[in-house]
């Protein structure tokens, strides 16, 4: 069984993520808004269930896979609006360090051919805190990704 026929897949990717958030405090009358763009790298592992055979006569065109991703994001641009005051998030404590993510999800694949696969995917991700923070606040990212894509297997040998 070739590597590509294994149900276990490893994926490596680069991502550009943009996050935005707002908050308000009625008692103190504060309003905050964040907008941040991250450049990230993801290393994922997929395990595919019901992978169709490589025989073209086979008509099993659907498979299901689960995915685990470890990724890290680096802030490349961000701003924070506090009560109509805008601040640059570059170099600010919580945004000065890379953000690590653990993500997991499931993918539904449709094999058009052995080389062309259309898929639908949902991935849930959560940031992981590393290091010490002076403040009491915590910066946490929770991501929900729903992807619909089309993949081409470049190395499939007919």
């Amino acid at each position: 069984m070739s590597l590509f026929q294994s149900p276990l897949h490893i994926s490596l990717g680069v991502a550009h993520d943009k996050f935005g958030a707002t908050s308000s405090d009625l008692e103190l009358g504060n309003y905050s808004e964040w907008e941040a763009a991250f450049l990230g790298a993801n290393l994922g592992v997929d395990y595919e269930f019901l992978q169709p055979r490589m025989n073209p006569s086979q008509h099993d065109k659907f498979s299901f896979s689960v995915k685990g991703i470890f990724g890290t994001d680096y802030l490349i641009k961000g701003k924070q609006k506090l009560n109509n005051q805008v601040y640059d998030l570059t170099g600010v404590e919580e945004f000065d360090n890379p953000v690590f993510f653990l993500k997991g999800g499931a993918t539904f694949n449709y094999y058009i051919t052995r080389s062309y696969v259309a898929y639908g995917q949902y991935i849930f991700g959560r940031s992981i805190l590393f290091g010490n923070y002076n403040g009491q606040e915590q910066l946490r990212f929770i991501t929900h990704n729903v992807n619909i894509g089309f993949s081409v297997s470049l190395f499939y040998n007919r």
């Binding site: 924070q80 600010v92 945004f95």
Partner: protein
């Protein structure tokens, strides 16, 4: 938990003055120094809403010394704000004075604010330190207040106070002004005014003015039933002038106090009493004469030499008349005695003030007989029916035009002064006199009807000239020309008294001469009776016809002797008869004897009447005794018939 608070102070300090209390409004927003931590930049400058806290205010002087300190316990509102009034808190133990006693003396002062935010303990941290620069020091800054300004406590204005725009100023309490006060408009006081210092009234209108105009007088007292009351310190004396009159040269008159001692040394008072004394002496002499007249009337002398002595009884009507004369003289003496008593009672009762002036006479305005006739001060004028002219012929009174009277009465109507002239009634007045004048001379009109007088010595004056006496010269003149001589007028009673005494002396001398003549005639009759037969009966018949004498039986040989004076006793009934005659006589003269103190007393007090009768009997008896003794000594035979 001790919460670290950083505070951004927003402080508004306003002096707020209330009707009940005072203080400084203090408003601040408490900002939480701890930022709100959010991802990214933390949120700073957050308010501290609904948080209990304690605030301590300290007012410090320039040296940092606490002049006042107080504490407030409060809670921030939902906006983190506190609203407090400095002055309404709880004064701390170390505060030296209360808020109202802070001495805002213009020196720099600062407000230090401390906060304690702990929930469990009082732990103050510095909040703010601000120098008080404007409102608390309003007294040396400009204040623009468009509304009312109410100050409950003492207000010290160390500079000029102006109330402009014609705004009235009302003071409901006492006003004390330590320095000069100048008012440039009307000054009205609706209550009692006490002016404890000297008051000078300088009218803003021109000096002079119409003397008869009410508006010309800078000081006017009106609106009451009384005028001006002057009270001096201590008891009155001549050293205390109630009112003194000045002109630009000197004091011209004064109303001064007078004590009893000063009254007794007052020349006018002494003069008046001398006059009264003279009157009393003269009246006493008159009484004595009346007593002597009774002796004369009650005695008889024989003048029937030659044919034996003829004794004639005294005529009863003459005795009654003489006694009546005694009664009337006694009544007059009582009046004369009563008058100075009344005068002295009046003077001592009304002792108080005297009016002194450089002017010397009391005068009145008298109308001119001819309005165009001109008079000068010192002119001698004649008064006829109350009108004056320089003609003194047949004048009712001879008077003098006054130059500067101390009192001027009978003021004419306004505008008619030209028809009147000031005429001296009493006092010293300068008079135009021609020729040499000796002090004490009488001044009489010259007779030329030119207003000029002449002087006449008292030794030279004739009785018919008495009515023409103007007065007595109190100064003299050596030059034979017209001079002003100081003449005392209105004081001639004493002079007339002197003249009366002189006349009395002359009458007594004439009486002596008459008695001598009578004695010589009697001697001649005696000689003729011895030499001429029938002469004595003829004389006796003539005496009977003339005197209606009553012949008495010649029981006493002594009565048969020639030239014998017989004194008869005056009885009580004769005195009573005399009193009746006196009363009738006075009534016939129109005198109301009920108003006469002597007769009033005689009618109402029997003991007085009895005493008078007894004294009259004793007095008459004494007179008879004196006359009897006198006759004995002079060799005249006298017999008392009682």
């Amino acid at each position: 938990m001790k919460k670290l608070i950083s505070i951004v102070l927003s402080c508004y300090v306003i002096i707020n003055l209330f009707a009940q209390s005072q203080g400084i409004n203090y408003q601040a927003v408490i900002i939480d120094k701890t930022p709100q931590e959010v991802p990214g930049r933390d949120i700073t400058g957050n308010i501290l809403p609904n948080h209990p806290l304690m605030v301590r205010f300290s007012i410090l002087d320039a040296a940092g010394t606490i002049q006042y300190q107080e504490e407030h316990t409060t809670t921030t509102d939902m906006y983190g704000m506190i609203n407090l009034v400095i002055g309404w808190g709880t004064q701390t133990a170390i505060s030296p004075v209360s808020f109202t006693d802070i001495d805002w003396d213009g020196t720099p002062k600062a407000l230090k604010v401390d906060l304690s935010l702990s929930d469990t303990e009082i732990f103050y941290t510095d909040f703010s330190y601000e120098e008080l620069t404007f409102i608390p020091y309003a007294f040396h800054k400009n204040i623009t207040a468009t509304g009312s300004l109410a100050v409950d406590g003492m207000t010290s204005l160390k500079n000029r106070l102006e109330v402009t725009n014609g705004s009235p100023t009302f003071l409901s309490g006492d006003l004390t002004v330590n320095e000069k006060t100048t008012l440039h408009n009307n000054f009205t006081v609706n209550a009692i005014s006490n002016l404890n210092g000297q008051v000078t009234i300088n009218p803003d209108f021109e000096t002079g003015g119409d003397a008869s105009s009410y508006e010309s007088y800078p000081l006017r007292v009106e609106g009451g039933n009384q005028g001006i009351a002057v009270m001096i310190n201590g008891s009155r004396s001549s050293n205390n002038n109630f009112i003194t009159f000045w002109d630009e040269e000197n004091i011209q008159g004064r109303i001064e106090g007078q004590t009893t001692v000063e009254l007794l040394t007052d020349p006018e008072y002494i003069f008046d009493n001398v006059l009264f004394a003279n009157e009393i002496i003269r009246s006493t002499v008159d009484v004595a004469k009346a007593s002597a007249a009774i002796v004369s009337a009650s005695s008889s002398s024989t003048a029937c030499a030659g044919l034996g002595a003829c004794v004639t009884a005294p005529i009863p009507s003459l005795i009654a008349g003489a006694i009546a004369e005694l009664v009337m003289e006694s009544a007059n003496l009582a009046l004369v005695i009563a008058e100075p008593v009344l005068y002295n009672v009046f003077k001592h009762t009304n002792i108080g003030v005297t009016y002194q002036s450089g002017a010397g006479d009391y005068a009145e305005w008298l109308p001119k007989e001819t309005a165009t006739e001109k008079f000068l001060p010192g002119d001698i004028v004649g008064v006829k029916a109350g009108k004056i002219s320089k003609s003194t012929d047949n004048a009712d009174h001879i008077m003098i035009i006054s130059r500067n009277p101390i009192v001027l009465g009978n003021m004419p109507e306004e505008g008619k002064e030209a028809d009147y002239e000031k005429v001296a009634f009493m006092g010293q007045v300068p008079v135009k006199v021609l020729g040499k004048v000796e002090p004490g001379d009488y001044i009489l009109p010259s007779g030329q009807n030119n207003g000029i007088g002449i002087a006449m010595s008292p030794d030279e004056i004739q009785p018919e000239q008495y009515p023409m006496i103007v007065g007595t010269a109190w100064s003299g003149s050596e030059l034979f020309k017209i001079n002003y001589v100081n003449v005392a007028v209105g004081l001639n009673t004493n002079d007339i008294a002197k003249l009366g005494v002189k006349q009395e002396q002359k009458i007594e001398e004439q009486e002596k001469e008459i008695n001598n003549l009578k004695e010589q005639i009697n001697q001649m009759n005696n000689v003729l009776a011895q030499l001429v037969p029938g002469y004595s009966p003829l004389i006796q018949n003539n005496q009977k016809k003339s005197t209606s004498s009553i012949s008495l039986p010649h029981t006493d040989p002594a009565l048969q002797e020639e030239n014998t004076v017989i004194y008869y006793k005056i009885t009580r009934e004769q005195i009573l008869e005399g009193i009746d005659v006196a009363e009738k006589t006075l009534k016939e003269k129109g005198v109301d004897i009920n108003e006469n103190p002597f007769f009033k007393k005689m009618g109402t007090e029997p003991e007085f009447k009895e005493k008078f009768i007894n004294e009259a009997l004793i007095s008459i008896e004494n007179e008879i005794e004196k006359s009897y003794q006198k006759d004995i000594k002079s060799g005249v035979k006298a017999i008392k018939m009682y």
